[in-house]
Point group: C2
Chain length 559, copies 2
C-alpha cells in the first residue's frame, strides 16, 4: 500500500507531510513534521463516510508511513477535540503507543474516547494555552484560538529551519462566550520574530466577510425563549460546550430548568463541568426523571441529533419512540446546527415529523440559529497578515478550498512560488536553501465497517449490487459426463421480487436452459468456462429485457 | 395497492385530490379535480431518487386512481415544462391516452419528450396565457406567472362550487428578462370576483423576504465577463431559457461568440428559438467545430451539468474526457445553478477537478450566480392577498414547507379551519355547504429502474446488501439419507474480500461444518429448516466476530 518514493530523507531538512485533510472537508486531519530522526504528528482525525461508501461507519487515514517510522515518533499533538481531529487516535494508539498532548478539555474528551477502546492507559499530557513542550528537535507552543469547541489551539513549532504555525481549526471570534480571545499577541509575536511556514484552516475559504460570533446565537436563543409558550428542546453538537452554555444561560435568565439528554451530551458536559469549562446553576439543572414535575413553560431539554442521526434522542423524539419525551402541541424544537451536506434529507424528515406532531421547529433555514466555527476570508487574511509567513500551505479542505485560500494568500503578497497547494502524502521540504515540494509517501483512506476495515474491491461490489441487485444461477453438473442433473435455478436479491414476476423468472430459466443446451459438453464440464458463458449471456439478456445490470453469480455444483 | 375508501362520490361536490407533490419538494406533482362525472388532471411530474432509493432512475406517482376512473378524464393540463411537472407524462399517456394542454413552449418541450417514448401522436393543444379551455364542467384559464422556465402559468378554474386557482410553480419577478410580468390584473380579478380555493407553491416557504429577480444574474454575468481573460464556460439547467438568453446577451455585448454544447441544451434552445422565446444574434452563434478558430477571449460555451451529472458535458470537460473541449489555464467556468441537496458532493468533485486543471470556477457559494424560481414568504403573502381565497391548500413541498406556508396564510387572516395541510391521496371536498377534508384514495410512489418498475421489497433488499453485502452458503445434501455430499462452501460479494481473508473464510466454513454436524438428520433433510438454521447461526457468528449484518442466502442442493 505504501509507495514511499522518499526513501532517504536528507539531514537538516524539515519535512512537512500531510497524511490526510488536504482532499476533504471535515475529516482525516493528520500532519507529520519530520526533521533528522524526529517525527511529531499533529492531529489524528476520522471522516464520516460519503454517500458512495456503502455500509462504512467511518474512514481513517492510512498511517503506514508512521508504522514504518515508528521509532522516530516523539508524540502526537492534538489541536482540539473534534472527531475530525481525534477520531483516528484509538486506531493509531493501538498500533503506535506514543504520548498524546492536548489542552485540558481536549485530553478530557480523548480520555473518555480511549476508555471505550480500552486504551485508557495511554500516555496523555494536558498542556494549557501558552504552555510549551519539547518533542525531539521540536519546541511546540500552544496558542489559543476560537472555534466551535472550547480549548482549541493552534501550534507554534520552533524547528531548526524556522517557525511553523499550524492553525488547527479556528475563527476570529471578537466576542467569545468565555471572553477568551484568540491569542493575537502570540500570533503577532510570531509575525515579528518571523514565521517560516503557516498551515491554515481552509474550511470556509469560500465565504466572504467575517464569520459571526458564537454570541450571535445567544440573541437567536433569546428570541426563541421570548416567544415559546411550552417546552423548548434544543439540539446541537454535543462537543459545542459554548452553545450548551448559552442555552443554559438563557434558560436560567427565563427561570427555566434544563435537562441534558443523550449519552454523548451528558458525558461531554460532565467532562466540561469537571474541568470548569461549563457552568450550570444548581437550581437550573434538572434530571430527566423530574421533567414531568415541571410545567412546560419552565422546561428546556438540550440534546443531540441535529444531523438526523437515526439512533439519536431527537430522532426518537420526532418519531415517537422516546420513552420519556413525547412531542406535544406547543413545544418548540430548535436545531442549532449546520445541515452538513449529505444529511439534508434525513434532517428534513426529522423536521417534518416534529411539525406533524405539533411542534414549532426552528432551524438554520428559517432562523439564524447557528454560526460556523471556521474563519471566513477576512479572518483568514487577518491571520496571515498577523503571522507574516514566508511559506504558506492551505490545509483542511478539498482542492477548491485550498485553491481559493491560496488565492487569498497571493493577494496578501505571498509570492506564488512560496504557496504550496498539496495533496495527501505530498512532501514539502524546507531547508535553509528554501522550500520545495518533492516526492510523496504512500497514503490513502482506510474504511472501517463494524470491527474491521474493508477493501476497496468490496466497496465496489456493494455499489454494484446496491444498484441492481444480485442474481444467482444454480446448476448441478455431473462431472464425468457433463450432464445437467439439476437446474438451472435462479435466485435473486434486490433485483426483482420473484413472487411478483413468476413469468419473468421462468423466462430467464428457459433462456438459460436453451443457452446451456446449445453449449458444447466440453464447456459444460469446465466450470470456469461454463460460469463465464452463463454470466455473459445472461448479462446481455437482462440488459435487453429490463435495462438492468445486476451482479451475476453462476454457481456450479459438480457431483 | 389502491385502497379507495371514497367509493361513492357525492354529486354536486368538487373533489380535489393531490396524487403527488404534497410530501416532496421538486417532484411527483399531480393534482386531480373531480366534479360529478368529470376529471381534470393538473401536471404529471417525476421525482429524482433520494439517496436510499438505490439504483432507481426516477420515481413517478402511482396513478391507479386515474386508471380506475379513466372514462371520466377530460384532459391533463400542464403548468410548465419542468420534469417535476411533466416527467411522468409518457408513463401516464401510455396507459391513459388523454388530451394534453399547455402553453406553446411547454407543449414544445413535451412533444420532444414524447418522441423519445414513441408517443408523438398524442393529442396536444397549445394555449396562450389568458387563453381558456373547457374540459367537462371545468372552465380553465391560463394565467401567466414568472418562474425559472419561460411560459409557466397558473390555472384559474371555474367550477360549479366556485373558482379554484392552482399556482403551479411561481415567483413574483419584478423585472422579468422578457418583460412579461406575472399577470397581476387577472389574479386581482379573481380576488375581486371571489376565489373559493387557492393551491399555492410552497417550495420556498421557509425563505423570508423576496426572491431575487432573474435579472440579478445578468449583473453577476457582467462581473464575470468583465474580468475573464480566457474562455468562459457557463453551465446551467437546459430548461432555463432566460438564463441562457442572458448569457447570450452579455456575451454579445462583449463581442464574444457562443457555442451551445450538449444534447438537452441544444434541443431546448432549438424549440425556444423556433417558438420565438430565445434570440441569438447571427454573428454570436458559433458551432462547436469552429470553436478552435476563435481566440479564447472571444469564446463562450453554454452547457449543462451544473449538478455534477456523470455523463454531462461539464463533467466530461472537468475530467478531461471531452473530445473537443479541454480546460486550460485562464478558463473561467461558471456554475449558474443551485446545488440541489444530495448533489453537493458530486458538484464539489467537479469543481475540484476544474480548479486542478487551472480554471477559475465561479459557483453559488462564492458568487450570486443563481437565483431561485420560487416565491419567498413576501411573494406568497402577496399572492394570497391578491387572490383572497376562502380556502387555502399549500402544495409542492414536504410537510414542513406546507406547515410554514399554512402559518403564513393564517397570519393573513384565513381562518385555520379553512386551511388544509394535506398528504398525497387525501381528499378535499368542496360543496356549497363548505369544505371538508375526508377520505383518501390509494396513492404512492412507483420506482422506475431501467425499463420497469421495482417493488419496495426489492429496494429494501438493495439497502441491506448495499450496507453489508451478501453471503451465500452452498450445501449439497443427499435427499434420502440426509448426508452432506458437498460443502459447506461460502461465497460472498460486498462482504469481505475473500482472497485477502482466507483464514476468516475457512473459520466460517469450520463453524458451519460444526453447526451442521450437530444437527439432527431430520433437520438436514428438510431444506427449509436447514436454511433457517444456517441463516440464524451464521448471522449471530458474523455479528459477534465482525459486527456486520450481511444478507445470508443458504442454498441447499438436494440430490
Amino acid at each position: 500500500m505504501n509507495e514511499n518514493v522518499n526513501g532517504g530523507l536528507r539531514d537538516n531538512t524539515l519535512y512537512v507531510i500531510p497524511l490526510g485533510g488536504l482532499e476533504e472537508v471535515g475529516g482525516l486531519n493528520m500532519t507529520v513534521l519530520e526533521y533528522n530522526g524526529d517525527i511529531v504528528v499533529i492531529d489524528a482525525g476520522l471522516m464520516f463516510p460519503e454517500e458512495d461508501m456503502l455500509g462504512i461507519d467511518f474512514v481513517i487515514p492510512d498511517f503506514t508511513y508512521l508504522l514504518e517510522n515508528r521509532e522516530k515518533i516523539r508524540g502526537i499533538v492534538i489541536t482540539h477535540g473534534h472527531e475530525d481531529h481525534v477520531g483516528a487516535l484509538p486506531f493509531m494508539l493501538k498500533e503506535l503507543p506514543v504520548p498524546v498532548f492536548g489542552t485540558p478539555l481536549t485530553i478530557g474528551l480523548i480520555r473518555e474516547k480511549l476508555k471505550e477502546h480500552h486504551l485508557e492507559d495511554s500516555e496523555m499530557h494536558a498542556v494549557r494555552p501558552r504552555g510549551r513542550i519539547s518533542l525531539g528537535v521540536f519546541d511546540i507552543e500552544f496558542i489559543r484560538v476560537t472555534h466551535s469547541i472550547v480549548d482549541g489551539v493552534a501550534l507554534g513549532i520552533e524547528t531548526p529551519v524556522g517557525r511553523v504555525i499550524h492553525t488547527g481549526d479556528f475563527k476570529v471570534d471578537p466576542t467569545p462566550v468565555d471572553g477568551e480571545l484568540l491569542d493575537f499577541k502570540t500570533f503577532a509575536e510570531y509575525g515579528e520574530k518571523g514565521t517560516a511556514l503557516l498551515l491554515s484552516d481552509s474550511t470556509n475559504a469560500e465565504k466572504g466577510g467575517f464569520t459571526f460570533s458564537e454570541k450571535e446565537v445567544r440573541r437567536a436563543f433569546e428570541n426563541v425563549f421570548a416567544r415559546a409558550k411550552g417546552r423548548i428542546i434544543i439540539s446541537t453538537f454535543s462537543s459545542n460546550i459554548h452553545r450548551i452554555q448559552q442555552a443554559i444561560d438563557v434558560a436560567a435568565s427565563y427561570g427555566r430548568k434544563v435537562v441534558l439528554c443523550g449519552r454523548s451530551i451528558v458525558s461531554n458536559a460532565q467532562i466540561a463541568l469537571d474541568l470548569g469549562y461549563l457552568k450550570i446553576p444548581r437550581e437550573t439543572w434538572l434530571k430527566l426523571e423530574n421533567l414531568k414535575d415541571v410545567p412546560d413553560d419552565q422546561a428546556v431539554i438540550i440534546t443531540t441529533g441535529s444531523q438526523g442521526e437515526p439512533m439519536s434522542v431527537l430522532t426518537r423524539i420526532a418519531t415517537g419512540e422516546h420513552k420519556q419525551i413525547q412531542i406535544k402541541e406547543g413545544d418548540t424544537v430548535v436545531l442549532s446546527a449546520k445541515m452538513i451536506p449529505g444529511n439534508e434529507r434525513s434532517i428534513g424528515r426529522i423536521i417534518n415529523h416534529l411539525f406533524k406532531r405539533g411542534a414549532n421547529v426552528i432551524y438554520e433555514k428559517v432562523s439564524e440559529i447557528h454560526v460556523s466555527g471556521h474563519a471566513s476570508k477576512e479572518e483568514l487574511k487577518l491571520l496571515m497578515n498577523l503571522v507574516k509567513p514566508k511559506y504558506f500551505m492551505p490545509v483542511h479542505g478539498e482542492y477548491r478550498h485550498l485553491c481559493i485560500h491560496a488565492g487569498l494568500a497571493a493577494k496578501q503578497g505571498i509570492p506564488r512560488e512560496n504557496i504550496f497547494i498539496m495533496g495527501n502524502g505530498d512532501i514539502l521540504e524546507i531547508s535553509p536553501e528554501g522550500a520545495v515540494q518533492a516526492g510523496k509517501v504512500g497514503t490513502g483512506r482506510v474504511f472501517i465497517d463494524g470491527k474491521g476495515d474493508v477493501e476497496e474491491m468490496v466497496l465496489r461490489d456493494r455499489m454494484r449490487i446496491a444498484h441492481d441487485g444480485v442474481v444467482i444461477v444454480l446448476l448441478g453438473v455431473e462431472k464425468l459426463t457433463g450432464g445437467i442433473i439439476s437446474g438451472p435455478d435462479v435466485v435473486s436479491r434486490g433485483f426483482i421480487f420473484e413472487d411478483a414476476s413468476p413469468e419473468f423468472v421462468s423466462d430467464v430459466k428457459d433462456f438459460l436452459s436453451e443457452t446451456i443446451a446449445g453449449l458444447d459438453k466440453e464447456i459444460i464440464a469446465d466450470s470456469a468456462l461454463l460460469q463465464a458463458k452463463i454470466r455473459s449471456t445472461l448479462k446481455k439478456y437482462l440488459r435487453n429485457t429490463l435495462d438492468r445490470r445486476p451482479l451475476i453469480m453462476p454457481i456450479i455444483m459438480e457431483v
